[in-house]
Symmetry: C2
Subunit: 199 residues, 2 copies
Amino acid sequence: MARNTDKRREELRERLVTIAEAQVRASGLGSLRARALAGEAGCAVGAIYNVFDDMTGLILAVNGRTFRHLGAFVSDVVDARQDTGPTDRMITIAFAYLRFASDNPTLWRALFGVKMSADRDVPAWYLDELGRLFSIISTPLSEVYPQADASEIDLKTRALFSSVHGIVALGLERRISGVPQDRIEMMIEYIIRNVTSRS
Amino acid sequence: MARNTDKRREELRERLVTIAEAQVRASGLGSLRARALAGEAGCAVGAIYNVFDDMTGLILAVNGRTFRHLGAFVSDVVDARQDTGPTDRMITIAFAYLRFASDNPTLWRALFGVKMSADRDVPAWYLDELGRLFSIISTPLSEVYPQADASEIDLKTRALFSSVHGIVALGLERRISGVPQDRIEMMIEYIIRNVTSRS
DNA sequence: CTAGTCAAATGAACGTCGTTCATGGAGGCC
DNA sequence: GGCCTCCATGAACGACGTTCATTTGACTAG
């Protein structure tokens, strides 16, 4: 019995994540509805709660996919430019981050827009994926600062990632600032080139 | 008749904003409830809609206050250090921004966490307040780049504001990165000092 | 002072949401 | 084949923002 049941649960889980991902991509995090989801998946609303703790758990699963796609995309882009210097490679990474956010705005925003009840805490793989992103940045950064220890590299990595993230986040938020994409790229390059060209 | 009515509306409006502000401060944007608000204000739920278009309008009013408080706080702090150089003044501004966000995390987060239906657009005073913040930064920045034109200053201002905003936002988000406050300050100083010490 | 008028205040009702739980039925075990 | 267990089910629940028919009360005209 266990075998058949587990398989069905796993299939339903994947189907729900796929449908939810499409919904978030199309209309944003706020448009997810348990009933619509169950309807599209061909199951009862209650079935969702046999597979996920709650809607937040489902969103976290969607974000897990997005994190992997983002990491793979950025890695691929920078791997194709391993011959360039560390500063140019960091700019490449940041542009790829901007590109992903710009191409998948709703999915990308969902990464940082999950509301979690206080008791629930972030799954370990969430921080793992963020660490993987950090490590993509810290590699060229270590070349810029060959004598820096791990703690210093970690601080500079977080600082640069957060800076680029802020530029992308506010730049894409048309409501607040609304800046053309090429000007966002100019801002990113301005920060990274000036920061990493100095010791 | 009009006089008395308008006065009561204005009083109710202010009372509602004050109560909502306290509620957001205490428990965050997501804890605002129309019924609880009406209960505390001593009015009917429907009365809220005689004064505001909807809950989003009320939140925007709260954010308006927060924007003014933030602007006044940052201005006061930097005004007390007008004797220092432009780079040090920019670090002072950024530290003040961090301090405000850290002291009023829920109100500060509400500034960027409002959900608005697509048709509604940002009130003009919202962008005005943001422009006021920008101008606080662009003043010392113009001293760093005396030969830069307005468009270039605008781009660098947005880039630096967004960078600091990103560092503060991700640094305070204990869920995602969670960094001690002094390390956040180190990140800010790292970015600003390196960016503005170069041409 | 009284009657009339009309906008503003009211709160029950509505539609929708995430979540739960008693129930019915499908599927493994003897 | 009969029993029993366990899971899918979807109606029900409580809470939410918002609406609207009704009541209220302030102001004016006579």
